[in-house]
Symmetry: C2
Subunit: 247 residues, 2 copies
């Protein structure tokens, strides 16, 4: 039979002053957050990594992360990590899952709540990253990572793909103005397969979430491609309804 501390809910809602007595038999553990940060840079998917400056594993690469503090929520901790290493707030971030094996961190028992985030990459982001000793890697040329971070990255990519099927998630990775070929390229990177130019354009435009601008982007062809922008109201509507977004 379980001991009483096993069902913590039977003991909850004490006053703060007495609370630690009620839960005193339970183990206290270290809880961390790790962030898998995807960036999209014109035509390739990138990942933000942090280079360890101290031994052991000096110069090896790791996801960015931190311990959760007693007075902050887990989500706040993840946002803090993100802000600390990129200077950014308010970008799309979501829980990936927990990594809770007993021996995952030889340093101590540490459970990590992994989060993944998406951002559009611009020059200034790379500079900020450098200031913080972080670096953007091409997604298909990642170095080895410490602990179970390689697994986290793989899981995050799978979740990203899955998620992109029912949420217009890819949009989070593009600059405000973008071309349809850019958008298609992004989905090709995420799904790692070719998409038919004509069908892709047809499908996207049929959703009526894009506004065509007068300007063209000529960085990738002589002819140039028209720039588009999301119509914010339509975009929000899609997110809320969880519209099917199968490409």
């Amino acid at each position: 039979m379980e001991n009483q501390s096993d069902n913590y809910t039977t003991l909850s809602l004490m006053t703060k002053s007495s609370s630690t007595n009620y839960y005193k038999d339970a183990d206290r553990l270290l809880l961390a957050v790790d962030c898998i940060i995807f960036g999209f840079d014109k035509d390739s998917l990138k990942l933000l990594l942090f280079q360890r400056k101290v031994a052991p594993f000096q110069e090896e690469w790791s996801l960015i992360g931190s311990f959760v503090k007693k007075e902050e929520s887990v989500t706040k901790a993840a946002e803090r990590v993100l802000k600390t290493h990129t200077g950014l707030t308010n970008i799309f971030m979501e829980e990936l899952g927990h990594y809770g094996a007993v021996d995952r961190d030889p340093g101590d028992r540490v459970i990590s709540m992994a989060h993944y985030a998406l951002m559009r990459l611009q020059e200034e982001d790379k500079q900020i990253a450098e200031e913080y000793k972080a670096q953007w890697f091409e997604f298909d040329k990642l170095p080895d990572l410490v602990l179970d971070h390689q697994q986290m990255v793989q899981d995050a990519l799978e979740k990203l793909r899955r998620k992109a099927r029912y949420r217009p998630i890819g949009f989070e990775l593009l600059p405000e103005k973008f071309t349809i070929p850019q958008l298609r390229l992004l989905y090709e990177v995420i799904y790692q397969r070719d998409l038919d130019r004509r069908n892709f354009r047809k499908k996207i435009l049929s959703m009526n979430v894009l506004e065509k601008l007068e300007e063209k982007d000529k960085t990738s062809s002589r002819k140039g491609a028209f720039l588009y922008r999301f119509i914010p109201a339509k975009y929000e509507e899609m997110v809320e309804k969880g519209v099917d977004f199968v490409i």
Copy 2:
């Protein structure tokens, strides 16, 4: 600028003996698991709840849960909780997500990793539940729950629905032999809408994962409905490939 303990990854992979020195500045927290356990009982969706026997909130209802112990993985903790309250192991269980708000449990700072599980309900399960002071509730007649458990249940149902779209998850809730009307009823309960009898049958059979048996189940009609069974190999194949399973 962050303090050094902020990036725990820069310090990991110490030997066990010295490790606690490295992480000593980080807060140690209570980590719990809570389980949302769905059961399907012939024609209705049920949820397993636990009645608190001690003050405060005596006689109020709660999900079943426990603290994670230092020497067990989070997953193992969830499995322990499940076994403790249902006697069962090896049933479908999956992470739902974390509940990590600072004030979610007035007793202390407790972060909960919620898990949800699916099981086919049979008479013996109800008896086991009773032994452990747990009880199965009709899903649409749930009592108020303590803490943020109501939210967890709602989130679990949403995840269940979402998941059922790309994994043949509903099958986990049925007995080994089942009729097609039963399977349809299950999906009607999950999605809370009516499904066309003919189209449902057509779709399911077209997947070639069901084996028709000679026996009939006559408990719900005079004519009786043929029993079916999953073809294990095909079923596994579907799970692995993540086959689309949109009903």
